[in-house]
Point group: C2
Chain length 531, copies 2
Amino acid sequence: MAEEEMSTGMMGAESLVRTLVAGGVDTCFANPGTSEMHFVSALDRVPEMRCVLCLFEGVATGAADGYARMTGRPAATLLHLGPGLANGLSNLHNAKRAQSAVVNVIGDHATGHRQLDAPLTSDIEGAARPFSDWVRTSPNADAVATDGAAAIAAARSLNGRVASLILPADTAWTPLSPARSADTRDGVAPVPAITPPAKADPDRIAAAVEVLRRDEATVIFLTGEAVRDPLIDVAGRIAAATGADLMTPTQCPVISRGAGRPEVTRLPYPIAQAVEALSGYRNVLLLGAKAPVSFFAYPGRPGELVPPGVNVQKICGPEDDIADTLTALCNALGANEVEPARAPLDVPAQPSGEITPESLGPAIAAAIPDNAIVIDESLTSGRSFMGPTSTARPHDWVLGTGGSIGYALPNAIGAAIACPDRKVICLESDGSGMYMPQALWTMAREKLPILIVIFANRKYQILRAEMTNVGAQIGPSAASLLDIDQPTIDWTGLARSLSVEAEQVTDLDALNRALAHGVALDAPYLVEVVL
Amino acid sequence: MAEEEMSTGMMGAESLVRTLVAGGVDTCFANPGTSEMHFVSALDRVPEMRCVLCLFEGVATGAADGYARMTGRPAATLLHLGPGLANGLSNLHNAKRAQSAVVNVIGDHATGHRQLDAPLTSDIEGAARPFSDWVRTSPNADAVATDGAAAIAAARSLNGRVASLILPADTAWTPLSPARSADTRDGVAPVPAITPPAKADPDRIAAAVEVLRRDEATVIFLTGEAVRDPLIDVAGRIAAATGADLMTPTQCPVISRGAGRPEVTRLPYPIAQAVEALSGYRNVLLLGAKAPVSFFAYPGRPGELVPPGVNVQKICGPEDDIADTLTALCNALGANEVEPARAPLDVPAQPSGEITPESLGPAIAAAIPDNAIVIDESLTSGRSFMGPTSTARPHDWVLGTGGSIGYALPNAIGAAIACPDRKVICLESDGSGMYMPQALWTMAREKLPILIVIFANRKYQILRAEMTNVGAQIGPSAASLLDIDQPTIDWTGLARSLSVEAEQVTDLDALNRALAHGVALDAPYLVEVVL
């Protein structure tokens, strides 16, 4: 009777919130509307759920991506009908490409209301599907717990996926019925078995060992856990034992780098440099990564970046068990006792004088504190950052994965909430930063220790290069669409308007001081670097 | 030979731009990326196309919506692959609900590149479909002109629709072949026949006349052209001749109002007020509008707002010829010579003293100049605006149509570019304004004479009411998700950071002065009204 009484009156929304918390999803990035009000109301009865308000949905989905990259666990998002979901889709695209586990909760009209075609009605499942790995609409309040648990399992399957659960308003506001299934008696459904990634394939391991034992130039192209603590050490042992190089895709979700870490090269973005980086290898072994392709197609340039005739061989794919495969490979090579070649601690001296493209990398490298999370959307400004930072204090480097710009500021929120004891440094270009400036408000609200560095070149610099790459001419009209200096964006004013402290710097000494101040501050701080 | 030579070397992208211009689409709201560079490059060879740069795609689509509402003609948008489209979808939802004609041009990877699944690859057609009436991917350069012309026709069909044309990069950069069809010899395809809206249905007209001649309380529920200059006058004649009332849906794209215009009531948003407004009628005649339904479903409240037993009768639907139907109805009633009851010119006196909810309407009404375009996303703050403005100087009043917030600032851009001689006043709530603040930058860049009034109540006030409506409790956690005052947004600082002049006002005298200053200024101006 006590159990019966406890659950009397519990509505679907509370049942979902309790199921999420019980399933390990205790953080929700939210921009709610009317159809989500019962979910919001339930938060007062389930204090274990931390709900972070975002002023735009792309901030919420980008934050969930950043959270998943740091924890390996899904956060929830709370989005309002089709248009609210739509505003979050571009960062879900990035999350999906990062294999980040995300549980989207998307409110919909009450089941009976859909047929009336009220103004906000749209095909939510249709909108979600291109950017989700799993989509389901909950049919009634009793099913919500089970569907929520299924969404968690879907998100945690196969190394991480995007799950979108659509919650019609009546399923949220209807009390659970006594007739509901026994395993959801207290409103909480257990998370079903996840689909695990496939374990190491012995044949592929053996074939890789055979290649690695040849006296041939070989690169292991790897991503995911294989380039992060602690497994990057295993990758380093394999490299040291075999002489193979380690390389990540350009769009690698997270790389553990800096002093003490084995060196892993990142494939450069510019196609000529990428082709150059891959030339000279006889073998490319794929470990969790797909064979590298150019980001865009260019007339007369290759799409597949590995030259013809090179042996490309898969050890495991993105949805396979990367940890198990890497460990099995190391075992098969007998490399467990081999010491990796580790980067020394060699923090560059702070540069001085005028800001140049080459001086930015050392300035950043000098500023990175121990165990920082660096979120990099600096694009053209950041192309020289990897070298100087490779011997900086140990840190994680987070990269854009899906090419949808505007991911970095939201991602930084998720990283900071996931790792409250770590400094987050967000390297942002001005063009990309203007996609989701609303993120600054949530950073201020939550007092997140994020240092934002805006590289203000005041143009879509990357597009100028791309126009040349695709063979298009830049006349005055075209040029006017590539520059964003008319008018100039005052990033410090923008930040302050959202309660984020900020300063602008125009030389390296001021930059060094600003970075040090921002690193020390236990709050968000924005530095606009005028280039 | 000359013709042959002229077209030699013309690429698909230029062919598309020329076709758009020839088809009357001479304005493009753009946020381009690599795959759109040839389109951008072609702008220098086709100066008739005006291209307006937006820093976020939702600004581009919202501007296209505003442009179409004012001109009845489509503008183009230029968007970058799936995620770029995704960022524009929420305002396309509004455009679709407004029956705005829009031609989206969405770049995609080159045809052969898609199979490589590069990071930016996504299902663009799938993403476009829920928010478009027409979707097509162009297969090759020769087809681009024909497909572009078809997109224009689709957008202009049935009173206005959203057409999405996907342009793989190679179709843009490939020269037209000599083998292309004869009707695209100069790279320009003629616009095919549009699907016209159905003309007046004589049976429905006769049935409506029969109802209107009864001595019964009747309301004509109408939208589209029927409530805009010049046809609103015809609606006024019908009302005067028959005693019927005129009412628009809550989400009406544009209403011509103020001095000299026949009175048309707007159905209130709050469900109790809406039910009240419709009570007492024996007949509801639908002219271009669908039968009114509640915006959201609420437990125990009606979804259909017309009380049971009332005669609801369709004269024509949203995709029928509203102008022809209205004119035919007026003819059938012999009402062409009847003088409508026109609103007098009765500009309220400027209110003075403290700002109250009731004083805002008169202050706005006093400030509206002749022939202004008022774009209203003031939501809760604006619920008292319709009364005082009904006798203001003549103006057009633009409303949210799809319920996706953040439409007003982008819409104002489109309206200002469509109507360079008219003042645009954008009434914006703070919560909604934060969805697309990037619009301010484009306003400054294009020096658009837009007066933005931000009603800063520093909360999602509408949601507080909605929580009560749906029967959800507001505890401290829930309340924290409904307030946006921690931290406070400094709208004047935000505007200035994007080069828009701004001031904050806290009393009515300052508000009056600020509104007058903004109306007189030939540039954007933002007034933050602290409530």
